[in-house]
Amino acid sequence: MRRLVLIRLAWMLPILLGVSVVAFVLMRALPGDFAQASAGTTELAPEALNIIRRDLGLDRPVWEQYLRWLAKLLKGDFGDSFTTHKPVLGELLPRLAVTAELTLIAGLMAMAMGASSGLASARWRGRTDWLVRGINGLFLAVPNFVVATLIVLLAGLYFPEVGIFNYTPFLTDPLGNLGSMLLPAFSLALAVSVTISENTRAAVLEVSSQDFVMVARAKGLRPSTILWQYLVRNALTPIITVTGLQLASLLGGSILIETIFTIPGMGQYLFDAVSGRNYPVVQAIVLVAATVVLLVNVLVDVAYARVDARVSYD
């Protein structure tokens, strides 16, 4: 088990190296560079543009720029932002924390809503099942930014006293911060909870048709014991896997939802950086996001083996 985790973690390095190459080359292969983007509409003489490029090392061959950047990165330095000339890491971390918080709250919310509705659906069948699946089918088709827009609309019309754009930093007011995260997290969680719900339902139904559950019923175990000890425990594997796999899409969605609720996360930072061709910032964000996705995949595999004794990777 420990060997497996180490191997999987070691595999992340070549993949991240690939990601860094893609991010690096992609940004530089595009029309327009930072010098032009920062000049905007003002006409700068080619000499002036070249001075900006030389200062930032953009006049060097791409492979040389990449190796310089990589060498710094290995020392934990993501480089300086082209616009503010401050270390990217220092600017990124507080924003990353906000995005991570939103993603995490949304993930927990989705898991709670999805697992409970899926469980109810499989447990009571009949009308409950029909209702849950109908609602699921509809919610799956409502994109998170549409949910967010509708929430903003309804809140604005009927509850103007609820300030939905009042983002509060966690350190100044932890409770207020959680409160301001609830609606954005809900809009993110809705569609994801459907996927979790459907998978929970399928997993519980599959387990409940197996022989050992019939034996448990025949023995006269209490239904609640069967539900929690037999069904839920065995259905946990798919629930964990699905939630883990959805985390990547939650992370992408956070960026979108942040812009609607004006939450100061990575979203706006990324937009400004991409359109301004602020290469070090884009590279850092892409690398961090990719690392999170890969780490989550490893965690899912570990959780998988932990919960289900039948899974062995050796």
Binding site: L140, V142, F145, L153, G156, F271, V293
Partner: protein
């Protein structure tokens, strides 16, 4: 199996999905003809609510919202259909090649795809489209780049097992060329999962396209599209809250179409859900 069943009858989900799809295709093909007004034509009547002349009302500079919704749907759906077709074709070629040829080539391509999978889809889409610049061809290219790896993986899995079946061995023993085996004896057997995945990809693409447009990374104005319309409606929400409903409902309808279709196809073709 009766003729009726073979044509997809007897599966309510599939029929409803096809009906919804037909209406989307009709909007895509005939959008500009159906629209009651010119979608870019302005009038003095701005931010008016629904009236007999303007069923969905007008926007901030007096353009007819119903016309913009129909013509905007045409843009959104056209990008979706073309982009997904492109992604499916590339995914089929790549997946078939990797799965069938196998060996080192397969390993190399799959490791490269691992790199692409490490990006969250939406983040990748933002980066690519913001970098290339928002335009219809660039959006199509972006969607194709983002979804090709996923489709390739869906194709590759079944190919790995089908290529070991007896009929493939039989074909090889009578001297059928490898290319013909791959395209005529393997490909037809993996169509079902690919069809289901295509439908799901269409639903996701509607999301990605409208979300990008919502952020201002869609087709450039003044041509309407659903994502941008929702974003415009959001700005004038306090003055004309009803203008949000049209684009929101359209996006949900289109997404629902492909999800219903995917479920119908899955049931019809008996593809195990993932």
């Amino acid at each position: 199996m009766t003729e009726r069943q073979r044509l997809g009858g007897g599966n309510a989900m599939m029929s409803i999905g096809l009906l919804m799809l037909a209406s989307l295709v009709a909007i895509t093909l005939f959008g500009t003809l159906i629209a009651p007004y010119n979608p870019s034509e302005t009038s003095a009547d701005s931010l008016a609510g629904p009236t007999a002349a303007h069923w969905l009302g007008t926007d901030s500079i007096g353009r007819d919202l119903l016309s913009r919704l129909i013509v905007g749907g045409r843009t959104t759906l056209l990008i979706t259909f073309v982009a997904v077709t492109l992604a499916v074709c590339c995914g089929l070629v790549l997946g078939l090649f990797c799965g069938y040829v196998g060996g080192l080539a397969d390993q190399v391509v799959m490791r490269i795809l691992d790199v692409v999978f490490a990006f969250p889809v939406f983040l990748l889409a933002i980066a690519v489209v913001a970098a290339l610049g928002p335009s219809v061809p660039n959006l199509i290219l972006t969607i194709a780049i983002v979804y090709t790896p996923r489709l390739a993986r869906v194709v590759r899995g079944p190919v790995l097992s089908v290529k070991r079946w007896d009929h493939v061995e039989a074909a090889r023993s009578v001297g059928v060329s490898e290319f013909n085996i791959a395209t005529r004896h393997v490909l037809p057997l993996i169509v079902s999962p690919v069809l289901v995945e295509t439908s799901l990809t269409l639903a996701q693409t509607i999301f990605t396209i409208t979300a990008l447009s919502f952020l201002g990374l869609g087709p450039p104005p003044p041509d309407p599209n659903w994502g941008a319309m929702l974003s415009e409606a959001r700005q004038f929400m306090e003055l004309a809250p009803l203008t949000v409903i049209g684009p929101a409902a359209a996006i949900v309808f289109a997404t629902l179409t492909f999800i219903v279709l995917a479920n119908g196809l899955r049931e019809r073709l008996d593809v195990a859900s993932r």
